[in-house]
Amino acid sequence: MRLTTTGSARNFAEGVVGRIAAHDLPQSERVHHIRLLQDCDGAIQDLTGYRGVLAYGSAPTSLPVVDRLREVLTFADGDVVVLEPNGFVRSLYRPREKHHSMFVTERCSSNCLMCSQPPKDHDDVDALTARNRELIRLMNPKPEYLTITGGEPTLLGDHLFDLLDEAKRLLPSTAIHILSNGRTLAWPQYCARIAELGHPDLSFGIPLYSDVAGDHDYVVQAKGAFDQTLSGFHQAARHGIRVEVRIVLHRLTVPRLARLAEFIFRNLPFAEHVALMGLEFVGYTARNVAELWIDPFDYQLELAAAVRFLSERGITVSIYNHQLCVLQPELWGYARKSISDWKNLYLPACEQCARREACGGLFQWAAKKHSSHIHPL
């Protein structure tokens, strides 16, 4: 499923965010909407009052417009999209999906070997924040659960606090989960600011890849990251900020996984959840595949031991991004259907599988690299 396309942009200099209107709306209801003109729409209509126009064909109009779209996106009424002055069109929010995320920056203070969103050192914070403020305003229906992701969201400084304030105001019953390397949280003043916001349902998902600094810092390619991340965990706990630990499973993290589980129990007993995640074959992973790739089937013993260790001690554990046929049956209860709808794929072998409904499937890019043990159950 595509989320972006390009076309020919005219009549605007900054991003335009709006809700898709696939059918004509009365003028009083047009102000938040971007009119999507499809082939069946025939002759030019009166488009006054719309925020912008999207068209597969040509659409002469003085409104902000991107027409002659190159790829077909499955737009639906209510989707929130952004039109960019360089002709890019991005789908930001699709009400029919279960998983929603908000992308806030490409900047990052780490450079993980397996990063699925490789960082770029250009300052996109102002533009993206303006876009995201509008996105928050336009999300309808309001999502149950929203993930804030990047890059490293805490690099937004005050902008992140603003976005969280907006979310608190306009999405009061939406749970917000921020994916962060946790390093900025090492500064108690930062945690104090977060705590002051008083958001009713906020948590941080922070990765930890080893119980020793050398190994963790190597995976995230940042000296001192382990020390800062651990301090960040502790300062967060000190300030009453909820945290969860995330571990991506690959050749560098699996050998000491049991030790890491023990480390989490003894040093981060306040973590409300531990997520054990499959490797995504996207972003940097391809470049580092020789060091990182291990068939998930081959680490089942270590994974089962870690899950048993943590859940025996009363810690909530989830397994993400693993197919059921590759997991030992005792672990099926911990596997979640976590792959975002737009990333999701099933292989031919999955056609006959009895557990296909319960299984999360694979990532799109798994077509290039996946376990040799995918088989129908």
């Binding site: 203070s109 900025t184 500064w187 108690p188 020390d227 800062q228």
Partner: protein, 133 residues
Amino acid sequence: MDKEVPGLGSTVTIELDRTLFSAEAVLKTCHWFSKDFAFEICAREGACLSVSLTVKQASVASECVRADFISMATDFTLRERIEARTTSIRELLLAKAFAEAGVLEDSPEGVFGDPIEEEKPDGLFKILSNASG
């Protein structure tokens, strides 16, 4: 060599090199043996400590008093060396443990890691560093 089964009242004498075993380690070892033994310690010539243990309880079972004693004294010597190297950091740890929140906390170390923010004169990194500096 050490298969002595001491009877009530019998004495075992152990000679220890003072350069290897401190008086403190020897005393602590004697303390642990003092349930079953009465002891006498004297300094001898040539940096030697002589420890005489006299059995005071009929129920003493140990066949290897000499070996056990030396083993325990060795461990106490090791403990002394650990303590010597860790006393001051232990005091610091306990002071931190019982201090009021934030009072004895270290500031975060290391770089921020984001080149754009590090370059900004009024960036987040500067603000956080100055506040904690």
